[in-house]
């Protein structure tokens, strides 16, 4: 089973002042308030963060529902937006894999893969022996997941007591957090092109089709960025 020593060691990693978990919490407060504004009940809001635990996915679901998108559209848009979790998982799991650990731990704990938890484990895993890293990771994932759930509840409840200017302030937290996180990863030609072109083409396609703008803009921008990366190298 899970080694409590390493589980709690991971759990307590989120205490640091510069921890990405703080930004995560602030962002999910905004998500809680956003879901409230879109007509979700508190149970539905908790259910959403509990099951999804990926901010852009929740955001795109909420935004897509706001413009009346179909379930297929939501599925494709969320899958594409959250497909970044695939390379993140691929680049993380080999660091945690150990033959003595059961496979279910990896398939269950992959639910915790998100930008915040990923950043925390990437900067701390080297201090942990490989055999215990999966339990350490489960601790980190549990902590950030719980922060997200409680922040969603807090945001949902607080939205009733916040004035309009505060709500507007909270609403900007999500995009600003991810905008800065993306600027932080603009270190190669392909990623820089993908992010800059995506930022231009997303709103451009909105003028043609609000429902499909993220999908079309993202696919076109990503494909062009891929060829730029192939042509000019990283």
């Amino acid at each position: 089973m899970i080694n409590p020593k390493y589980f709690f060691k991971g759990l307590l990693c989120v205490r640091r002042l510069d921890s990405p978990a703080i930004a995560l919490g602030a962002s999910f407060v905004a998500i809680g308030a956003l879901l409230k504004n879109l007509g979700f009940t508190i149970q539905e809001s908790i259910f959403s963060t509990f099951l999804t635990y990926a901010l852009p996915g929740s955001l795109i679901m909420a935004e897509s529902m706001f413009v009346g998108a179909s379930l297929l559209n939501i599925f494709l848009a969320v899958w594409l937006v959250n497909s970044r979790l695939y390379p993140m998982t691929v680049s993380l799991m080999p660091l945690l894999l150990h033959e003595k650990q059961p496979r279910w731990k990896y398939y269950l704990s992959c639910h915790f893969v998100a930008v915040s938890s990923w950043l925390i484990v990437k900067s701390n895993y080297e201090n942990i022996e490989k055999e215990n890293r999966i339990d350490f990771w489960i601790g980190i994932g549990t902590a950030t997941w719980l922060i997200a759930i409680f922040s969603t509840i807090l945001g949902y409840l607080a939205s009733d007591f916040l004035n309009k200017d505060m709500m507007i302030g909270l609403a900007v937290v999500n995009p600003i957090y991810f905008m800065c996180a993306m600027i932080g990863v603009m270190k190669t030609n392909s990623l820089s092109s993908a992010i800059i072109l995506g930022a231009i083409l997303g709103p451009s396609f909105y003028l043609i089709s609000p429902q499909w703008s993220v999908l079309f803009g993202g696919v076109l921008a990503g494909t062009i960025a891929f060829f730029i990366g192939e042509r000019y190298g990283d």
Binding site: S190, G218, G222
Partner: protein, 108 residues
């Protein structure tokens, strides 16, 4: 809101988990230098950028009640704070909320 909320949440969760699941499944075999991996990676970041940019330029909900000029000021100040704090994500995130609230309160 035409789409059932619970169904939308389940679809969102499933669409999210499959990337994580296949990430574990293939983590021992996939070559991070392969072309398919690189293309997929570009799509992930470009789609996220498209979403965030669209939210900031064509916002809905509360953010839609702010002026474009105020949003641009908040974006530029947040990027400035991000760089002067050595790429810390906490400061621009927290300050963006404060700056946005203050600007919207006093300039509109």
């Amino acid at each position: 809101m035409a789409t059932n909320i619970i169904l939308a949440i389940l679809v969102t969760s499933f669409a999210t988990y499959i990337s994580r699941f296949f990430g574990v499944l293939t983590s021992e075999k996939i070559n991070e230098k392969s072309k398919i991996y690189r293309w997929f990676n570009c799509l992930a970041y470009s789609t996220l950028a498209a979403l965030i940019s669209r939210i900031l330029i064509f916002p809905s909900g509360d953010l839609g009640e702010t002026s474009f000029l105020i949003r641009i000021i908040v974006i530029l100040l947040s990027i400035f704070i991000f760089f002067i704090t050595k790429r810390n994500l906490v400061y621009p995130t927290v300050f963006s909320a404060i700056i946005m609230s203050l600007l919207n309160s006093y300039l509109t």
